[in-house]
Symmetry: C2
């Protein structure tokens, strides 16, 4: 196959397979199941690879993502999100619950009552979301029991509890986030237990905290980014350059001094830049280079002293900061084995936000 | 029409039409033509509205965007980008040049030679890009003549010069960026003149500098964001809340204290946050609220003291920081007249990066 036009997304299959199998093995060693978050890749081929390596199902964030993966034959899905059952969404939730094993997150009594009121009694299982320190959605762990009781009264089955320890996304925070995660899950489990409800499922996980996650507390983990990794994971210390499975191929279109400008900007890479990030992304083949400025179609890369400045027209391999948002901008990814394109995968759930 | 499921993009037609006509009028008063940058909206219906209000053509950033707008009947397009004529792109550039009036940016002698070598002599017109202070692509203004000479020798027609005064994107910088823009364009024009080449087209423009742009120096301006405006333009002082024509409708899914969490995150809004921005976006109906945290499907909004905390399940209208990246995430926008949905427009050039 001829080289695609830049910018394009390139997935290294050897690295992807290694990432999928090593996390599966690590989880097995901890005595935990994994239910990977497929919002990172949005690609059924990769979900099937994860299931083949022992994942018990997948995690998603939206009803429309779940519909797309259900259409692709994935039959066990957790929507780890406090989905609001607005009028247009009710029929879709019911239909999903009929054809796959579906779990949904709930983080309020009102949310439990609203959901329970519109689905047949016993048809949907919920997990109560608790806040373990990220302070996004989720109730306080000691309040989990009251949400579980309200859910049960509303006719929902209560499967257990979950949390996203997103405060793992800061340098050095991974292990502490895993401790907080385990503590929140334990407190939430006790809170349910006091109400006579068993938290059979105790779900946690993020890629930066995964290595430190407590397999004695969690029954399952939901890492997502690990399949590809990205510049954030590099800078958090969650992976090495050799673990990066997705890059954005881009052409050098302009040069001045030690800066080169390539044709992949925020519309190809995404605009993510955490406060602690060293730039807008990295180069796979020049670890000290930084993307120091980003427009919609321009990434300006400062090449380190002593490095060779790439020629105009040459192709560079960029590592985006946050690969989930990168993939969501593309209609497909090119799949490479040993440097040769061997397949093209459709990003089936791109833009599936509803 | 029933309310679409959130998150969705809502365009207020009255505001859009007012923005389009007021910038057209302002340009006419300055004695400048406008060639709006359609990368903001990527929607042929809006391009046709701009042309109906006197725009002389449109500006785009990529060959694939130009192909899509050409297919929609737009026949005068400037690709304001130093397009590299890689192997797969040559036939596409030639085909475009045959069916529409096409101009392309060039910012290096090598780029001019590479392009000239692959298109029929005289078939493509170029504008030389110069740097007016944004330090992205573009040669120094006094070097514009040498690029123009190389272009002419390579068989390209030289139409003139252009710059993007992108350093207007900082609070208080708009007027100075317009001064820098005019100075760079004058120097570049003189540089071409010394080589016996006339810069008939002298093109500048960005939304934050447009109000201050020098109509005596520029022959045309290329503002883009003004059609919709966004939180960046609000915080730069380029527009008022009443000028914001595009919002992202989102549902409240979680609450704690004065924070509400809605179901539009970086996969709906985009992740842009300039260093000077006060957050990840604003609310149309609560000017003092700020989106202070953003994940892929969660925006966490701090409601100001004394304001009413929105109910779970209610819909809020979010103003994204950078509307160009927001639109590029959506397949279509819902068009409202006086609060009623009257049309749905396809984002025809979404993802057209090549």
């Amino acid at each position: 196959m001829a080289d695609p036009e830049t910018p394009y997304l390139a997935v290294d299959l050897n690295t992807l397979e290694r990432n999928v199998s090593s996390v599966a093995e690590n989880a097995a060693n901890k005595g935990m199941a994994i239910r990977p978050h497929a919002k990172t890749h949005k690609i059924p081929e990769i979900a099937r690879m994860q299931l083949a390596h022992g994942a018990i199902g997948i995690t998603l964030a939206t009803v429309s993502e779940a519909e797309i993966f259900a259409d692709a034959g994935i039959d066990d899905i957790f929507i780890a999100y406090p989905v609001w059952p607005s009028a247009a969404r009710i029929a879709r939730i019911r239909a999903l619950a009929e054809r796959i094993t579906l779990r949904i997150g709930v983080d309020s009594i009102e949310g439990a009552q609203a959901l329970g009121a519109v689905v047949p009694s016993g048809s949907v299982e919920i997990l109560v979301e608790v806040d373990s320190g990220h302070h996004r959605s989720g109730v306080q762990p000691h309040d989990a029991g009251s949400v579980a009781v309200a859910s049960a009264r509303a006719g929902l089955r209560v499967g257990g509890v979950f949390t996203f320890p997103g405060h793992s996304y800061a340098p050095g925070n991974g292990a502490q986030a895993a401790i907080d995660e385990a503590g929140a899950i334990e407190t939430a489990t006790e809170s349910l237990s006091r109400e006579g409800i068993a938290a059979a499922i105790r779900s946690g996980g993020s890629t930066p905290s995964f290595h430190a996650s407590h397999g004695d507390t969690l029954t399952e983990a939901r890492p997502g980014v690990y399949v590809f990794n990205d510049a954030q994971q590099l800078e958090l210390g969650s992976c090495e350059f050799t673990d990066v499975a997705l890059t954005v191929a881009a052409t050098v279109v302009s040069r001045h001094g030690r800066d080169v400008v390539v044709d992949a900007g925020s519309k190809a890479l995404g605009a993510d830049r955490a406060a602690w990030a060293t730039g807008y992304g990295r180069l796979l083949d020049e670890p000290e280079a930084r993307i120091h400025a980003l427009s919609e179609h321009h990434a300006t890369i400062r090449m380190p002293d002593g490095s060779v400045i790439p020629e105009l027209g040459s192709t560079l391999r960029l590592i985006p900061n946050h690969v989930c948002n990168t993939v969501n901008l593309a209609d497909h990814v090119f799949v490479l084995r040993d440097g040769q394109i061997v397949d093209v995968w459709t990003v089936a759930a791109r833009g599936a936000n509803t």
